[in-house]
Amino acid sequence: MSTVQVTNLTKEYRLRDGLRRTTLRAVDRVSFDLLPRRTVALVGESGSGKSTIAKLLTRLERPTSGSVEVALADGTPVHGSMYRRQVQMVFQDPFASLNPFHSVGHHIARPLLLHQRTSGARQTHERVLEMLERVNLSPAELVAARRPHELSGGQRQRVAIARALAPGAQVLVADEPVSMLDVSIRLGVLNLLARLQREEDLAVLYITHDLATARHFSDEILVLYRGRVVERGPADAVILDPHHDYTKLLALAAPDPERLGKVVAGEGAPDRASIDNSVCYDHHRRAWVHVDEAADAADAARRTRAERTGGGVAAGA
């Protein structure tokens, strides 16, 4: 049981444009908490900074400013290699996230060995099989010996989940885990994730641009637009009662079979140029918050938290 507290996370990329250098703020002061058994969904269009947050969280990139703090159930902060053990990730492309040169077993055995979860080949192997069983891959013995390209996309994604959980991760970042899978198996994988989450008390960050699954799979939704959170709140509230223009736009864009023949020529497209990402609607507070305000609040909350070392603090804002 671990919690993650993300405070004013910011990431700037330096872009080189010939001789000029510009900075791109891919993520701008984003704060949220990940709690055990709870799923937070990040939604937003392409390039809104979703994957960047995932990378920051998993320490594949260093934040420009802001903090990500992981604490165990007893409040001990997590550092170093412990961090890697605690926070793991499931990638988008099941074809690219497994190395075609290694067997399925190898993919799971490596983290086990690296984090000293098991010792000795026998124990490791048993543990690998156990992990595979847990993600519904059976017969595990057979699957472990196979190579990724002998598996279907859904099976691969399950291997990826098993790998993420192998070091004993308590926090799972799933970056569009099903968007590359065939429609008919997406639900299976999401349900598997949900089951594991319940069984292992995982904290999950679910990244997607599919509003429908975001709504059903998560507890809280953060809508990201150009690096900033523009709307946040309980899943149903955000989807069924969007406040921010951008969220409305997204909701409108999502196909909904309930609205047969919705796409008509006359349908007016909201003007994206007018969308403002400096304010955020917070459904918990039922109020509009300016980013600067939210950032200050997050900072303050962080300081209090630091004083009370280990005290549970409410999510951002």
Binding site: Q88, A96, P100, R147
Partner: protein, 323 residues
């Protein structure tokens, strides 16, 4: 195939598995499919290597002279004699060994260099990558042989041994490979399994060696083969100019002596032609092998090769269907 067309990373297309994954192990992906070209190449290369390895053990003394020079080929002396009555065939065996030796040496050195600058630089990224790739590009545009000649000119003959020449040839020939490797590494590096293994806490060298390197093996193999060809040719050129490694017998020195002894004007083709042909055949063989390796690197090439057979099959089937 997946149902999405999100733009794949450059080169990722190559990594996409076949439509219908068979039960073949992954390492099979690294093996080229057998084609007549590959078979020819392997036979050529294998034959020449065997000749270079075993030949010297079987032939007589290549330096022994006979009273009559420039004898044509005969049952006794398969490729006749040189001007000084030396057995050309025996010399060829020794020279082949020498050339292969230097080719292999340079191949290894150049591959190691290119792997270092190409893979390591690309893996590290940032300033290191920029510096490495700048260096690579600079080495790329500086013409190799003139540089080698200049260096050979400065190195006194006594210290111009096999290794010196090999090192110099390697130094001037790694850049092109490094550039290719860099591009490949960049595409592999961005694949998610590399990120995944970094996430599991793997060390950098292990990520490079275990996760990235296998994907680059075909490229490395291709670059190695290419480096060997270039080295054999380069060494032959240097030796022909009298700037080769001192005291080593290679196909280049053989040609040097043949030229020296007016082999061609005297019609002694058996002395002049075999070394050159052997170089050409070795080069061709290696290139043919390389074609097949290229097909692994770029599967579209393989498709193009299969194209004809399939067109024929389709045409045949169409005819059969029409009847």
């Amino acid at each position: 195939m997946t149902d999405t067309q999100s733009v794949p990373a450059a080169g990722a297309a190559a990594a996409r598995p076949a439509p219908r994954p068979g039960p073949a192990p992954a390492w099979r992906m690294l093996l080229p499919t057998m084609t007549p070209w590959l078979a020819t190449g392997l036979v050529l290369v294998g034959g020449i290597c065997l000749f270079g390895l075993l030949g010297p053990l079987l032939v007589g003394d290549p330096d022994a002279i006979r009273d009559v020079g420039l004898q044509g080929p005969s049952g006794d002396l398969w490729l006749g004699t040189t001007q000084t009555g030396q057995d050309v065939f025996a010399q060829l065996a020794h020279a082949t060994r020498g050339s292969l030796q230097i080719g292999f040496l340079v191949g290894v050195l150049a591959t190691v260099l290119s792997a270092f600058f190409g893979i390591y630089g690309a893996y590290l990224g940032g300033a290191a990558d920029e510096a490495f790739s700048l260096l690579t590009n600079v080495f790329l545009v500086i013409p190799g042989l003139p540089l080698v000649i200049v260096i050979s000119g400065f190195v006194p003959r006594e210290s111009r041994g096999l290794w010196t020449i090999a090192v110099v040839l390697a130094l001037t020939s790694w850049a092109a490979s490094a550039r290719v490797l860099r591009a490949q590494t960049l595409s592999v590096r961005n694949r998610e399994y590399v990120a995944a293994s970094r996430l599991s806490g793997e060390r950098a060298w292990r990520v490079i060696v275990v996760e990235i390197l296998p994907n680059l093996l075909p490229v490395l193999a291709s670059q190695f083969v290419f480096a060997v060809i270039a080295a054999v040719l380069g060494e032959a050129g240097l030796s022909f100019l009298g700037l080769g490694a001192s005291g080593s017998a290679t196909l280049g020195t053989m040609l040097f002596y043949a030229q020296n002894g007016f082999a061609l004007p005297l019609g002694a083709w058996w002395w002049f032609a075999p070394p050159g042909l052997l170089i050409a055949l070795l080069g061709t063989g290696l290139s043919l092998v390389n074609f097949s390796i290229d097909e692994i690197v770029n599967p579209r090439l393989k498709n193009a090769r299969l194209h004809r057979r399939r067109t024929r099959q389709a045409a045949r089937a169409a005819k059969g269907g029409a009847r």
